[in-house]
């Protein structure tokens, strides 16, 4: 059985836990509950006949007091860099986080998720910034844990990327 460890990274309240819950349990709650430490979930995927056990590490979001604990990242096969489209600040912080993660895990596949796509009327993100990261050939997807938009696709895409690595 192939196993892949995937970490969810991003500042607090961008929807990391909600994305995992949507993907693993097909549920969503509007109530914001902070994550402390790490919660690990598992989902088995069948990708073109290959069965993969995906271990999802939902890590506590960063804030001004709480920095990412790099020990959680050890042996990760890939990661999601999650930002909240309604909070431009979370996108900028995701870019900083990427630099930090690169130093620890090196060149592993990642996908940037701009979450809360169901709230485009409150969208605060500068599209020029998104264009900038797209120009770097980053894989970027707009997701909504609430509606499920692109959630399945995002997890499948990253898992495929880890298999190809």
């Amino acid at each position: 059985m192939i196993k892949k460890k995937i970490c969810m990274l991003g500042v607090f309240a961008v929807g990391k836990t909600s994305l995992v819950q949507r993907f693993v349990k097909s549920i969503f709650s509007d109530k914001y509950l902070t994550t402390v430490g790490v919660k690990i979930d598992k989902k088995t995927l069948d990708l073109d006949g290959t069965t993969v056990d995906v271990m999802l590490w939902d890590l506590q979001g960063e804030d001004e007091f709480q920095e990412l604990q790099v020990s959680y990242l050890r042996g990760t096969s890939g990661y999601f860099l999650v930002a909240d489209g309604t909070r431009a600040f979370s996108f900028d912080r995701a870019l900083l986080l990427k630099e930090k993660v690169d130093k620890v895990v090196g060149d592993v596949p990642f996908v940037m998720l701009i979450n809360k796509a169901d709230l485009t009327d409150q969208w605060e993100l500068d599209e020029a910034k998104v264009e900038e990261v797209l120009a770097k050939n980053w894989s970027v997807m707009k997701t909504s844990a609430k509606t499920g938009e692109n959630v399945e696709k995002a997890f499948h895409t990253l898992t495929m990327m880890t298999l190809e690595q």
Binding site: Y32, M55, R74
Partner: protein
């Protein structure tokens, strides 16, 4: 210190060089680990150790790991020449305390972000109003000049 250790339900597991369970003891049931058997491969028993076996044999600590039994543990992994020691310390109370604080802190920060956003929108709206007012004043001035000239 001794009392503190007692409260934290110490448990351990020793893995051999092939990462198979060799020895275990302590309050393992606290962590939902009831059916450990010698010879079991650790990867199949401890999902939170995923990745530890890859790369360097550097010891470390993973804080506040949520386990299936709804308990949080600080998981120490210590390599020695014969294998790997996994030591569990209960961190549930600490996580509960931190969760309360973190929740309040994050909610306050979200509120602050929202207020900043609204302030920026307000400033932008004010600036638009000022520009419109200036344009209006200037038009009135021109209109007045035309009217005055006419007289």
């Amino acid at each position: 210190m001794a009392l503190n250790f007692e409260k934290r339900s110490v448990a351990f597991c020793f893995l051999d060089q092939d990462y198979q369970i060799n020895r275990f003891g302590g309050s393992l049931e606290t962590y939902g680990l009831r059916d450990l058997q010698k010879g079991q491969h650790a990867e199949n028993v401890f999902p939170f150790l995923e990745g530890i076996f890859i790369g360097s044999r550097q010891s470390g600590l993973m804080r506040h790991v949520a386990l299936e039994s709804s308990v949080f543990a600080d998981v120490h992994y210590i390599f020695d020449e014969n294998g790997l020691w996994i030591v569990f310390l209960d961190a549930t109370q600490e996580v509960e305390r931190l969760t309360l604080m973190q929740q309040r802190g994050n909610e306050a920060n979200l509120l602050k972000e929202k207020i900043n956003q609204l302030n920026l929108q307000l400033e932008a709206a004010n600036s638009r109003i000022e520009n419109l007012q200036a344009e209006l004043d200037s038009r009135e001035k021109v209109d007045c000049e035309h009217t005055c000239e006419g007289k």
